[in-house]
């Protein structure tokens, strides 16, 4: 029954709010009393290794594509590695990623998805991730809690909100992490997802990768107010972070996750960065001023972090060597893989068996080691 004044002043809590949730601080910043997460030296080395892994993989991917060995298209996130890596590093094993997008190869690496399978997928070979039915960035690893994306932007954000709702309804201690670009804030689906997430305080962590471009279109032709500044319009905080600083991304996403786990709802983390390559490998991006690229190249997330870690005593060259060795083996194995069987192209349109729950992903951050297992289900 409608008894309250129909026009509650912003941002009072709606009576429709989920029970048992605190009603303060809806649109405020993340709680200040959360102690900042500690990154050990091993964590930091892992972060570097994951970023280098992403870049090395993608460089090889570009090469394979240009050699004509990869059908369709190839997309990379050169210069944006800190975002998928830093954000996913803050996720626990039972958290889900829904979904890593076009610049987020590193997220898959953090979760531990097999590199050979990923390359098989790109090459259109038979593989455990997509059976050749999908290509380029359209893959995930449900066994590791990673839901594959669809192209339509930002549909998977809506889906992530629904996953988070399920976690909330069941009282589980887990969050859904979602990624999208600056351009993906323009479709109506973004608004609906933001609104549902904010209204119902779903435990969803929202990472907007603002690289200033949507294909050839600059952000300035997408919106007048930046994504983080729009978050309060949905009763959630928006946080801007340096998207080229992997530790900063980790910290911001970690705080957002804590907030979600505490029942305080979603946070939009806007990670600012620059797309350093074309939209895809087919695009020379001549519409971007080389001088601007040069400015950002000075801020390369890997080079700067390497310098920091080298100073901290880490053997960054060994990291690179390890990564390259793994990659070489994976590429070799993938290139030797068979193509999928055309006779099976049409099977499995419908599910005929009780669905298998999503599995748990790798959660390499040392901070999780101490934590008790939080009840995820295997796959």
């Amino acid at each position: 029954m409608l008894v309250e004044d129909p026009h509650p002043p912003t941002p009072d809590r709606a009576p429709g709010a989920p029970p048992g949730r605190p009603s303060d601080d809806v649109a405020g910043p993340p709680a200040e009393d959360v102690s900042p997460p500690v990154l050990t030296l091993a964590d930091r080395e892992a972060l570097l290794e994951l970023m280098v892994g992403m870049r090395t993989f993608e460089e090889r991917g570009v090469a394979l594509y240009k050699q004509g060995r990869t059908p369709g298209s190839f997309y990379d996130g050169h210069g944006q590695e800190a975002i998928p890596v830093g954000a996913t590093f803050a996720m626990g094993p039972d958290d889900v990623l829904c979904s890593p997008l076009i610049r987020d190869m590193g997220a898959h690496l953090v979760r531990g998805t097999d590199l050979t399978e990923i390359i098989r997928h790109h090459l259109g070979r038979d593989n455990a991730l997509s059976r050749g039915r999908e290509g380029n960035v359209h893959f995930g690893d449900p066994r590791r809690g990673v839901v594959p994306m669809v192209s339509m932007l930002p549909d998977m954000f809506v889906v992530a909100v629904g996953m988070a709702m399920a976690f909330r309804l069941r009282g589980e201690r887990r969050v859904a992490l979602t990624f999208f670009g600056d351009g993906a804030t323009s479709p109506g689906a973004w608004h609906e997802a933001m609104n549902f997430a904010g209204l119902r305080r779903e435990p969803v962590v929202i990472v907007c990768e603002n690289n200033g471009l949507a294909y050839s279109t600059p952000s300035s032709a997408q919106f007048v107010v930046s994504p983080a500044d729009r978050a309060p319009a949905y009763g959630m905080p928006g946080v801007v972070v340096d998207g080229n600083d992997v530790e900063a991304v980790f910290a911001a996403v970690h705080a957002a996750r804590e907030r979600a786990l505490a029942g305080d709802g979603p946070t939009l983390v806007e990670a600012r960065t620059m797309r350093m390559h074309g939209h895809g490998s087919h695009d020379d991006a001549r519409y971007v001023d080389p001088a601007l690229l040069e400015v950002w190249r000075q801020r390369d997330p890997i080079a700067t972090y390497e310098a920091t870690l080298r100073e901290a005593g880490i053997d960054v060259d060994a990291v690179r060597t390890r990564v390259l060795e793994r990659l070489d083996l994976a590429v070799e194995a993938a290139l030797a893989s068979p193509l999928p069987d055309p006779a099976r192209a049409t099977d499995g349109l419908f599910a005929t068996e009780e669905p298998v729950p999503l599995g748990r992903g790798d959660a390499p951050w040392s901070g999780f080691a101490a934590e008790a297992s939080i009840g995820g289900s295997g796959r």
């Binding site: 029954m1 429709g16 989920p18 029970p19 889900v96 829904c98 997509s130 039915r133 999908e134 359209h138 995930g140 449900p142 839901v147 594959p148 669809v150 192209s151 339509m152 549909d155 998977m156 809506v158 889906v159 992530a160 909100v161 629904g162 996953m163 988070a164 709702m165 399920a166 976690f167 309804l169 859904a176 109506g188 689906a189 609906e192 997802a193 609104n195 549902f196 209204l199 499995g348 349109l349 419908f350 599910a351 005929t352 068996e353 009780e354 669905p355 729950p357 999503l358």
Partner: protein, 342 residues
């Protein structure tokens, strides 16, 4: 036996050996009953949609559920069909079994992308199941006008990965909604608004599940009328105007999967077919059935494959105009007569 104000109703297949207890229900009550029974049976099932909570939904299909199951399992949503469908996909991926109500089937167009591109393609692409139901109050006949009378099922049929069902009787409404909820795939459940309170029938109490196959509602030797949803009742009425045993009526009940064998078996036997659709004619479900018959029953055909459907215009508001556009028992009778005489 179902009753319907101006048509004799299709028989429920009645003669079960250890028949469960039944009760007379309207088509609408049968839907509510299915929701209640399935929600009691499986705590993963929940409903969501605009005004489905304490209000019980625009048509009262969810009446009483909020009181019994609470706000978490009977969720009022903002007006946002893409989010209703998309968050349901997410909840389904996370192991729940959402049943969404779209207030009028017409509004599904605003959530179309989530339905066809996310829900429909998920399993084939990724192996992930999306067990969810989209309840779509559809159809015309009550001066609803162009935006409250649509029959969008053909759009879904042309989107691989969606199941599409359209019951015509209370017992089927219950049994097929239960089956849809238990299915591991996204199911578009077309419930016809004009049948909600107009038809009553015996409905099994407790658990009741109907498979997604066609059913012969009336047997005949000279002509098969293929129909579903509200049109089934008109087809039965029309068939009843001919001598017994001449006109067979097949209730498709499910459009995806389409019970091709049942259609072909009937048409091969009768040699003639009339396909009735309430939807706009071009590329409707009936076109698919016609194409099927024209290919695979060709050598048994004794006459042209006839269709009756709404012409390709929006559904008009003014009752006289609406009646001019929707198929009627008279027009079905007329077409049947022509075919029988062919």
């Amino acid at each position: 036996m179902n009753t319907v104000d101006r048509a004799s109703a299709p028989g429920a297949d009645g003669s079960v050996g250890d028949a469960p207890a039944t009760r007379t229900m309207t088509y609408l009550q049968a839907i509510t009953d299915a929701l209640r029974v399935e929600m009691r049976r499986d705590e993963r099932v929940f409903v969501l949609g605009e005004d489905v909570g304490a209000f019980g939904g625009a048509f009262k299909a969810t009446e009483g559920l909020f009181d019994e199951f609470g706000a978490d399992r009977v969720q009022d949503t903002p007006i946002a069909e893409a989010a209703i469908i998309g968050t349901s996909v997410g909840a389904a991926l996370a192991g729940l079994r959402p049943v969404c109500e779209v207030q009028f089937a017409d509004f599904v167009a605003t959530g179309f992308d989530q339905l066809v591109n996310v829900a429909g393609k998920m399993h084939w692409r990724t192996g992930l199941a999306v067990p969810m139901v989209l309840r779509l109050p559809s159809g015309g006949g009550f001066a609803g006008g162009p935006f409250h009378s649509q029959n969008p099922e053909a759009w879904f049929m042309h989107a691989p990965g969606l199941k599409v069902v359209a019951p015509s009787s209370p017992a089927d409404a219950k049994g097929m909604l239960a089956a849809a909820i238990r299915d591991h795939n996204p199911v578009c459940f077309l419930e016809h608004k004009h049948l909600y309170r107009r038809i009553k029938g015996e409905v099994p109490l407790g658990e009741h599940v109907e498979p997604f196959v066609a059913r012969t509602v009336r047997s005949g030797e000279e002509l098969t009328i293929v129909a579903y949803g509200a049109m089934l009742h008109l087809a039965v009425e029309a068939a009843g105007r001919f001598e017994d045993g001449r006109v067979e009526v097949l209730d498709l009940r499910s459009l995806v999967p389409l019970d091709e064998e049942a259609i072909l078996a009937s048409v091969r036997r009768t040699g003639k077919v009339l396909i009735v659709d309430e939807a706009n004619e071009t590329c409707a479900a009936g076109a698919q059935v016609a194409a099927l018959v024209a290919d695979r029953a060709f050598s048994d055909l004794d006459g042209p494959v006839r269709r009756l459907a709404a012409p390709d215009v929006p559904i008009p508001f003014s009752p006289g105009l609406e009646a001019a556009v929707l198929p009627t028992a008279d027009r079905i009778t007329e077409a049947a007569r022509e075919l029988l005489a062919y």
